[in-house]
């Protein structure tokens, strides 16, 4: 991540017991514009370490005076969401990255099918503004649990009418993936943001119906899974970096002052690709193919082994 923007928290709204919405305003000048589906990295200076979490930007991209994000409190997380929920107050200053978009609308689609699970509604809050402005054909399917993860449901219902399809787990309603894909017009594109299960299920159903993989688009932010500690060696300088089990290699490099370009921090965008010359690698990305994996790794998610140092071409 290159340039950081300094923002001030202009508003905080508790949307549900576990979802909090933050509005950020520029400290100096104007915030850069963004396209719907974009995300920003938010720098979270926890006491013990600094995290950078990616969050989708909500709202109408044409109204770029402020940025809004919605954050779900993750119990089992590394503390980033807890920090945002418990520490950050109106008036506080934060650093964020410039917006980038790994989840754009497909411009040639004739019909857009948006499927959100829980907090996965966030990128679609920006899509809707754009789709409505274009007069595009679309439908939104939103699986949530009322009283817990039902952010924006009332607003969406009122705004979208018959185009809104809600599934409340608390009322025993289930999103039926097979049904959802049946009878859709030929130029349909499917956008998915939610748990891996939902994505896997929809992918399998779509393939069985003969949909090209090119009709499916998904938002894939995932915090890096922890692993075992290991050591990385920067072969150009000889510097050795110890990577703790709950740090990603990318985070360890950043902590040591080594900047590696990155966008998604979840192993999907390909930005952080780094060459390596030797050592054991546990590849955890969804980007590289087998052949590339013999000499390239994605430090945002992938890790070294414990047999010896991982030799990076840095």
């Amino acid at each position: 991540m290159s340039a950081l923007l300094e923002v001030q928290v202009a508003a905080v709204r508790q949307l549900t017991p576990v979802v909090r919405e933050f509005t950020f305003a520029a400290v100096n000048g104007r915030l850069p514009g963004f396209s719907s589906g974009s995300h920003v990295q938010v720098v979270l200076p926890l006491a013990e370490r600094t995290l950078r979490n990616a969050y989708s930007l909500l709202g109408d991209p044409r109204d770029s005076g402020v940025y809004r994000i919605a954050v779900r409190l993750q119990e089992a997380s590394r503390g980033g969401s807890r920090y945002l929920h418990e520490q950050v107050q109106v008036g506080d200053r934060l650093q964020i990255g410039v917006p980038s978009n790994l989840f754009p609308l497909h411009s040639l689609a004739r019909h857009h099918i948006l499927v959100a699970g829980g907090i996965g509604i966030t990128p679609f809050m920006a899509y809707l503004a754009e789709l409505e402005a274009q007069g595009a054909s679309f439908e939104l399917h939103y699986a949530y649990r009322s009283g817990l993860t039902d952010a924006y449901t009332a607003e969406l219902q009122a705004r979208l009418g018959a185009r809104f399809h809600g599934y409340d787990a608390a009322a025993g309603q289930r999103l039926d993936c097979a049904n959802l894909l049946t009878g859709k017009p030929l130029g349909s594109h499917l956008y998915i943001c939610g748990p891996q299960r939902l994505l896997d299920d929809l992918r399998a159903r779509a393939a069985a119906l003969g949909w090209s993989a090119g009709r499916l688009h998904w938002e894939a932010f995932a915090a890096p899974e922890p692993g075992l500690p290991f050591t990385a060696e920067l072969t150009r300088s000889g510097q050795r970096i110890a990577v703790a089990g709950d740090h990603s290699l990318l985070e360890a490099l950043e902590a040591a002052g080594v900047e590696v370009p990155n966008l998604c921090r979840g192993g999907v965008c390909g930005q952080c690709a780094t060459g390596y010359l030797g050592g054991e690698v546990e590849h955890r990305d969804h980007y590289l193919d087998e052949q590339q994996r013999s000499h390239v790794l994605m430090p945002c998610v992938s890790r070294g082994g414990c047999s010896g140092p991982l030799l990076l071409d840095l």
């Binding site: 790994l102 989840f103 497909h106 040639l108 689609a109 004739r110 894909l181 009878g183 859709k184 017009p185 030929l186 130029g187 349909s188 393939a207 069985a208 119906l209 003969g210 949909w211 090209s212 993989a213 090119g214 009709r215 499916l216 688009h217 998904w218 938002e219 894939a220 999907v268 965008c269 969804h286």
Partner: protein, 181 residues
């Protein structure tokens, strides 16, 4: 993210030789000559065959159209009403299959939902000087039938036009050698 698309940008077109076995909701088979389609019938999806004529022994729903133009219009109307999960397979000469490709793409099919099987040697040549099209065979040199310039048939193929690029062979003579009647 979107899966890396299986749509290579190539300038010399490549054609399928054996039909893929991917599942499909529905399949439209488009053949210049119905008899050619026999090799493609072994597929699980319900199939409709559109052709310009010819005999087919197998029992498959078959519509014969009187001309290429009628066939492209029929295909267009059909795809307009079709559902996602429909695939198209076209078999015929290069001019024919690329016209079918164009109609299918316009209807919203993605590249890997369309398969082209090439038969015959008929090709289409685009004269880059007068921007008009003509049909040729396998020859590598030709004269533009519209502006008369001697053309070299390049390997470069335009998917949009379904045609090979023809460029003037002799830069010193970028004009007709024979006066057109």
């Amino acid at each position: 993210m979107t899966a890396p698309s299986a749509e290579p940008m190539f300038s010399t077109p490549r054609y399928a030789t054996v039909p893929n076995r991917r599942p499909a909701l529905y399949r439209v088979l488009v053949a210049q000559d119905a008899a050619l389609a026999t090799t493609l019938l072994d597929h699980l999806a319900p199939t409709l065959l559109l052709s310009l004529g010819g005999e087919l022994s197998a029992a498959v729903e078959h519509e014969q159209l009187p001309s290429s133009e009628a066939l492209y219009l029929r295909l267009h109307a059909l795809l307009d009403q079709a559902q996602a999960g429909t695939c198209v397979q076209a078999i015929g000469d290069e001019v024919f299959v690329w016209q079918v490709h164009r109609v299918a793409r316009q209807a919203g099919l993605l590249g890997d939902e369309i398969e082209l099987f090439r038969q015959g040697a008929r090709r289409r040549l685009y004269c880059v000087h007068c921007t008009r099209l003509q049909e040729i065979g396998a020859e590598t040199e030709s004269s533009c039938s519209h502006c008369g310039v001697r053309l070299l048939v390049r390997e470069h193929f335009s998917q949009r036009l379904g045609a090979y690029m023809g460029v003037c062979i002799d830069p010193d003579r970028p004009f007709a050698t024979v006066v057109q009647p």
